[in-house]
């Protein structure tokens, strides 16, 4: 959903697993919807980790642990690998996350998050492991994600890192604009390209 992004300060949900693929984020059987109801996808975020095969809640999974909550998901490296399904980004947004922090994201999923106004924040391995330790020590600790200044701060330790995002996408996020708005304004350039390459 289009919403303006500025500074977010929140507690975090830790998922210290590597190579979390989009099949885990949202299993294929939930991809049959023909509409974009984020609440439906959000309800089924990490479905097969959240629930046992018999449909009962898996109390050991972090989303079911009342100790943790917030708008920031913190995940191990190579988050969002595999399938291009944007439903994974819809599920993350639908659940209520606005930021995902990891040391490495898969390409397609990273774009999908950005296109849904969820901010992927890439941090160093070191920052990430310290952050996991901070959350474990105090689940109520806060992280500040400052998009205008492109910084992420672990409020427990005071450690701060700069993250990368291109100026165009930053502008889009801060002003709730999407790529289609931009492309539609540039149709003359597209037609000129077509004529040149006919």
């Amino acid at each position: 959903m289009k919403q303006k992004f500025d500074i977010i300060t929140s507690t975090c949900v830790p998922l210290p697993l590597e190579n979390v693929d989009t099949d885990q984020i949202i299993p294929a059987r939930f991809l049959k919807a023909t509409t974009r109801e984020e609440s439906f996808f959000g309800e089924n975020l990490f479905r097969d980790w959240r629930y046992h095969a018999d449909g009962t809640l898996n109390k050991d999974f972090v989303l079911n642990d009342p100790t943790y909550g917030g708008e920031i998901l913190v995940a191990g490296k190579n988050f969002g690998s595999g399938s291009s399904r944007e439903h994974a980004a819809w599920a993350i947004a639908g659940y209520g996350f606005r930021v995902v922090i990891s040391s490495f994201f898969a390409d397609i999923h990273k774009n999908n998050e950005l296109n849904n106004f969820v901010l992927p924040v890439v941090v160093s391995e070191d920052f990430l492991s310290e952050l996991f330790a901070s959350i474990k020590a105090d689940p109520k600790m806060l992280v500040e994600v400052d998009l205008p200044n492109q910084t992420v701060t672990n409020k427990a330790t005071g450690r701060s890192e700069r993250f990368e995002i291109n100026g165009y996408k930053k502008y889009c996020l801060m002003n709730a604009l999407d790529d289609i708005d931009f492309l539609l304004e540039n149709k003359d350039k597209i037609e000129a390209w077509e004529q040149q390459h006919a």
Partner: protein, 465 residues
Amino acid sequence: MANTLFDKIWDKHVVQYVEDGPQQLYIDRLYCHEVTSPQAFAGMRARGLKCFRPDHIYCMPDHNTPTHDQDKPIEDPVSKAQVDALAKNAADFGLTHFGMMDSKNGIIHVVGPERGLSLPGMTIVCGDSHTSTHGAVGAVAFGIGTSEVEMVMASQCILQQKPKSMRINIEGELGKGVTAKDVALYLMSQLTTSGATGYFVEYAGSVVRNLSMEGRLTLCNLSIEMGARGGFIAPDEVTFAYLKGREYAPKGEDWDKAVAYWKTLKSGDDAVFDKELTFQAADIEPRITYGTNPGMGIGITEAVPSIDTIPEAGRASYLKSLDYMGFQPGEKLLGKPVDYVFLGACTNGRIEDFRAFASIAKGRKKAAHVVAWLVPGSWMVADQIKAEGLDKILEDAGFELRQPGCSACLAMNDDKIPAGKLAVSTSNRNFEGRQGPGARTVLASPLVAAAAAVTGVITDPRTLM
């Protein structure tokens, strides 16, 4: 000037460079299947837009299609609704649609090349990560999200950061029983599932040159499993011979003109890649995976890595993975009983894959306890199987052919591997639950799959050749 083939194709398609941002890339071909397109069509309707270049867009259902009784309505109402929605959307927006039972239907990544819709020098996208497959014809092809599908529908363009370039050379000659699938599985285990993230890969070297077009399609298909956005192979005589006469390929004078241009599509001798890697065919044996991502693979005679070889930060994920698979660190998998065998998918659903499977099945019988699903990638493949008499060989060995579709690769139709069952599968992903909740997947080539199907256990196919 880097002068790689990737640069040549990509740069030619740049409409504009957005200041401090991505590049606006013109797209020659958009493919749409039923799963990742409905929300894009809905977005187009909400904005009151028509498709900017409807003749550049081809639609077909493949993920939900049942692999039996396709002439009857789909039983699962939710799958039916999604397949019906694609037909209606295609009609409403004036797009070409190959529906179920249409002789041109099949898995989008099998149909595109075999119909001559995917051609050298093109930019090709689809809301599907295995779009990298089409790179085998010498195109820049990559998977995108649904928002990006909508961008292409609206403007025939996409905004993308240009990936870096990587060349992977595979030199030497493949040994007995070693296929393009094994090469790809080997590369994934060497690079891991994120080793090529941020890159577009050009495959080169004598092994790649000697691959058939089917083998090249398999290799490029799996580029995404190393994290690469796409992978491609410079077009050559193999490519031209494959494409000539295909339905949508240029004809007559246009063909000659096209080939003259396609022959210029190669990296310069002075090309500079951001990364270049070389591997030797002699190091590759038939391969299998043991874990829950495609990079977790071994040679079929090797043992599952022991825990002390795994870096500290990855151990929790590693043990979770082996626990899911029911395997022990350090054990060999040869001789493990197999419950299911799946031949098909955009990875290995082409004629050569059925020939390979049949070469092992010929004169043997399917193991009684194994359930085998043999699913051609398209009706064209299905017809060729019959024309070559492979159907008879497979039938005599106790195998039954099903109707085309993605099938058990991701189990969106009824072809689900039951929880706890072990499947040897020629598909592309062994993620938890990928082939059905609780299903355990071992990825392998059609030869390894066939060897498992006739012996009932994980078997080195070289012992049957």
